[in-house]
């Protein structure tokens, strides 16, 4: 059970930092609360006691988003539901919506926030691979001697291990910035043990843009979750496709390169095979999403047995 004596609901960042300051060490910041409450139970965190809980979900500034150049700047309080349903966000970062539809269920998506999902740093977090693929950068803020100190950190540097990040004491993730993906096709692949309310065993975000004649990959972005301590970007797999023709052998090579990233504690053999399949499936799905025409390629790529 989760116990606390005080529940604070600041309405501005300033108020939040003041509360953090006055509460010394024994406080907990929450946004959606959808990870914290299930964690504070028998078999996981057990009975957890804080003096104060600081609920930042009512800080309105953190719920807003805007387009800045070709980057989307999202407040940390944007909910998974907004990522799924908001037309503007669906236009600019559709892969988030494709991942959000797999995220828990309708009800939890209403409460859970993007910032919370990233800070929680679950190896299998569904929001992380798409954000990695979109070159996400976090804004972290804290207040020291009455002054707001801001720093920015790419998402892949922010995440350091299961449940571990570079977030410092007194610091809040306030914003998440990522590329607008206009012009890209996207796909999100996920497998777990069922179809709703399910943890990813493996998940993958794929983004693809093509040359004007549709014959070559212009850009390819791939990121994986569920296969190791932190979700990761597949740079090598991307590199072997960028500026290359859409070719089944190359796609296969790209998939093979992804396999070595499986570093989970369990079910490695399974994950390796799924990663191999998902990279291929994700790239082809993202191409198909662009709805353009191609020279017919051999997409019935048989298992070649050389991925491991």
């Amino acid at each position: 059970m989760l116990y606390y004596d005080q529940y604070h609901v600041p309405e501005t960042l300033d108020e939040a930092f003041d509360l953090i300051h006055t509460n010394g060490g024994n406080y907990k910041v929450l946004a959606g609360a959808t990870d914290l409450l299930p964690w504070a139970r028998e078999g996981r965190g057990g009975d957890v006691n804080y003096e104060s809980v600081i609920d930042i979900s009512k800080i309105n500034d953190l719920s807003k988003w805007q387009l800045q150049g070709n980057r989307i700047n999202l407040g940390a309080n944007v909910t998974i539901s907004q990522l799924l349903n908001n037309p503007f966000l669906r236009k600019h970062i559709p892969v988030m919506a494709k991942s959000a539809v797999w995220f828990a269920d309708d009800q939890i998506r209403e409460q859970a926030t993007l910032g919370g999902n990233l800070v929680n740093a679950s190896p299998a977090a569904d929001a992380t691979p798409p954000m990695l693929a979109m070159n996400a950068e976090l804004t972290l803020e804290r207040k020291q001697k009455g002054k707001i100190i801001q720093r920015k950190l790419p998402l892949d540097e922010f995440l350091t291990g299961p449940g571990k990040t570079r977030l410092e004491a007194g610091e809040l993730v306030t914003r998440v910035e990522c590329d607008s993906m206009l012009g890209y096709g996207s796909a999100f692949e996920k497998v777990g043990h069922r179809r709703s309310l399910v943890l990813s065993t493996v998940c993958l975000a794929a983004l693809v843009s093509l040359s004007d004649d549709g014959q070559e990959f212009e850009d390819v972005r791939l990121a994986l979750g569920g296969v190791g301590p932190v979700p990761i970007r597949l740079k090598e797999s991307e590199a072997c496709l960028i500026s290359q023709p859409i070719d089944s052998d190359l796609i296969d090579k790209s998939a093979v390169l992804a396999v070595k990233h499986v570093q989970s504690r369990t079910r490695q053999e399974y994950r390796r095979e799924v990663v191999y399949n998902f990279v291929k499936r994700g790239i082809l799905g993202a191409c198909k999403d662009l709805n353009t025409t191609f020279a017919d390629i051999d997409t019935d790529m048989k298992h070649r047995g050389n991925y491991g």
């Binding site: 043990h193 069922r194 191609f294 390629i297």
Partner: protein
């Protein structure tokens, strides 16, 4: 020159079938249930028995039985709470026994209560008891010459100093098994079932989706067909869970799946469409002919699914659950076997 990108589906479908059988009520031991019935003021009925509504709809089944036995309507029936200090023993909710054991006990109790009432009316109307029928809250003679409402009939009885009550005890004469060779008559009523399952297997993830189940079950006599369907659908889906995802895990005695995030149950997105057909082969050894459905509904599902997976992708899963990991591993082995075969050839 350019054609739309075609992605070859990696999902394969298949079908499987399985049969099954089950015995009704307690196994290899005598089973019993008791009930009390009263035709009550206003032409209603009060039934007291140690019945356990566990969600299967047994209270409704009993109300329908009582209504037909007494010639009233299910909504006129009140069933008392299950209370060891207030109601007669009807034993446990399990062994697919309640409709069979308690249904028949309640029918017997109603018959006795009805007989008490009919006896008084037969005297009044100067007809034989057999010439009186009760239906839909009216009691009358066969030739329609005499009738009154059930409410009036109860009042008439009471005015003559008779309370129309009855009790029933139903026995199932099962015998124990011989300790050496197991011979014996463990049940007096058997039921049979068969199911077809259709699956889709994703050969790239090992995921299995059960798309349809076609189930046929003999229930003796369906008191409430919708309730029977409900039991079949619930049983099939529980079995789908056990076949594909549910697994209570322990490591050296320490449980590792102690919440519903770790212990995976089927959601609305994981369940097949279930199509049922109900077969009625009435039990000849009991007043109502009913048998049961609660447990037998889930017997054929798991093997039907496993056989369907084989039909779809040619791998046999011998251990439950058939998780994506297991299915993909089996597919890999199959591929490797085929490769070896090719190399040797």
């Amino acid at each position: 020159m350019n054609a739309p990108l075609r992605i070859f589906p990696k999902q394969k479908r298949g079908r499987g079938v399985a049969a099954g059988w089950y015995g009704i009520a307690r196994t290899a031991t005598i089973d019993r249930a008791g009930a009390w019935a009263e035709l009550d003021d206003g032409g209603t009925a009060k039934i007291i028995t140690g019945v356990t509504e566990i969600g299967e709809g047994i209270l409704t089944v009993l109300a329908q039985i009582v209504a037909d036995e007494l010639g009233i309507r299910p909504k006129d029936v009140t069933i008392g709470d299950n209370d060891t200090a207030r109601s007669p023993e009807a034993a446990h909710a399990g062994a697919t026994r309640q409709t069979y054991m308690i249904g028949n006990a309640v029918a017997l109790a109603c018959r006795e209560a009805r007989q008490r009432l009919v006896k008084e009316l037969a005297q009044k109307w100067q007809v034989s008891e057999d010439d009186i029928i009760c239906s839909n809250g009216i009691i009358r003679t066969l030739d329609h010459s005499q009738s009154m409402t059930m409410s009036e009939a109860v009042q008439y009885c009471k005015n003559r100093g008779v309370v129309p009550v009855g009790s029933g005890s139903f026995t199932a004469n099962h015998t124990g098994l011989d300790p050496e060779n197991g011979s014996g008559n463990p049940w007096q009523a058997y039921v049979y079932g068969a199911q077809v399952a259709e699956v889709e297997v994703d050969t790239e993830t090992g995921e299995v989706q059960v798309l349809g189940v076609w189930a046929s079950h003999d229930v003796g006599r369906a008191v409430n067909p919708q309730g029977v369907e409900g039991q079949i659908e619930g049983g099939v889906v529980m079995a789908v869970g056990q076949t594909l995802m549910e697994d209570y895990k322990q490591e050296e005695g320490y449980p590792t799946s102690m919440n519903l995030a770790k212990y995976i149950l089927p959601t609305s997105l994981d369940v097949p469409q279930v199509n049922s057909v109900i077969i009625e082969d009435p039990d000849p050894l009991s007043p109502l002919g009913v048998k049961g459905i609660g447990e037998p509904s889930m017997i054929p599902t798991a093997p039907a699914i496993i056989n369907a997976i084989y039909d779809a992708v040619g791998v046999r899963i011998h251990s439950l659950p058939a998780t994506p990991e297991k299915v993909l591993a089996a597919l890999r082995e199959k591929r490797e076997r085929a490769d070896t075969h090719e190399m040797l050839a």
